[in-house]
């Protein structure tokens, strides 16, 4: 499944931790506080637990959305948007 992670976290340490956890779990950074990528249910659950542990429930906001490929294709992407093939793991590696 395709997972979106969006957040607004006040504490610098916690925010850094969450961004690193997202990258480590294989998501791509599409904006400063917005990540996107393909995950299985176990990976998603692990990431949720990791985020849940560091955030402050009174001040911070984290959204984790689930999407399928068809829904992603229907999204409008304007300007300098990301490559939808990259986040759905259709491109296995990049050559520069």
């Amino acid at each position: 499944m395709i997972i979106w992670v969006l957040y607004d976290i006040k504490n610098d340490g916690a925010r850094n931790f969450v961004s690193k956890a997202c990258l480590k779990s294989g998501l791509y950074r599409v904006q400063y506080s917005c990540f996107l990528g393909t995950m299985n249910a176990n990976e998603k659950d692990t990431l949720e637990l990791q985020i849940e542990k560091v955030i402050n429930e009174d001040t911070d906001k984290v959204y984790i959305f689930r999407m399928n490929k068809e829904q992603l294709k229907e999204c409008s992407m304007l300007g300098q948007a990301f490559d939808d093939k990259l986040v759905t793991d259709e491109i296995k590696s990049l050559f520069f």
Partner: protein, 191 residues
């Protein structure tokens, strides 16, 4: 004689080749990297400190022993709680850092069966049920039946595992191909 942990028996029942790769070829699994395993251990340690004297009256618990390291010939392991029930029988209780998903997974059952065998021998009493506590579903308590056949199956697995290890036998892989998908040894295993 070799002595196994319940986790080793569960791995064997999942696929006999686990035993071969891990204990004959000695290729380790890197279990510590799983975040959920670590969290589960943390919570387990907390559990040992909290509610020490709490008895689950609803299921008829008379007495309990925490964190019991038990061993018999060929099998050893640590039971989270050994419960003494009102009817004189004993039962193992295990905490799971998991959600209750309307069914008890086979691995959890096997673990309880192993504990049942251990408790029967060590406490010299009968065990015909075990309990699981699902921490992430508001500590939901589930009862699992333990039959004679189940306990026999554990003994049979122990025997088969000893065979693999002492005779360097390369066993047949599991017939459930789905299990190969996220197996740690999938890259080195012959199909």
């Amino acid at each position: 004689m070799l002595s196994f942990y319940p986790s080793q028996i569960i791995e064997y029942l999942y696929c006999p080749r686990y035993t071969y790769f891990e204990y004959v070829l000695r290729i380790p699994q890197q279990e510590d990297k799983f975040y959920k395993v670590q969290r589960g251990r943390e919570i387990h340690n907390k559990k040992l400190e909290q509610n020490k004297a709490y008895l689950r009256k609803k299921i008829g618990v008379k007495n309990k022993c925490l964190d019991q390291y038990l061993g018999i010939e060929g099998l050893r392991g640590k039971v989270d709680e050994v419960l003494e029930l009102n009817d004189g029988n004993f039962a193992p209780l295990d905490y799971k850092f998991a959600h209750w998903k309307d069914k008890v997974y086979e691995t959890y059952k096997q673990q309880l069966f192993c504990y049942a065998v251990l408790i029967e021998k060590n406490f010299k009493s009968k065990v015909n049920k075990g309990f699981l506590v699902y921490i992430r579903s508001q500590h939901k308590l589930i009862e699992v039946e333990v039959s004679k056949k189940d306990k026999q199956k554990i003994q049979d697995s122990m025997k088969a595992m000893t065979d693999i290890i002492s005779k360097n036998k390369f066993p047949r892989a599991t017939s459930y191909k789905k299990r190969c998908l996220n197996c740690t040894y999938r890259n080195i295993c012959i199909k």
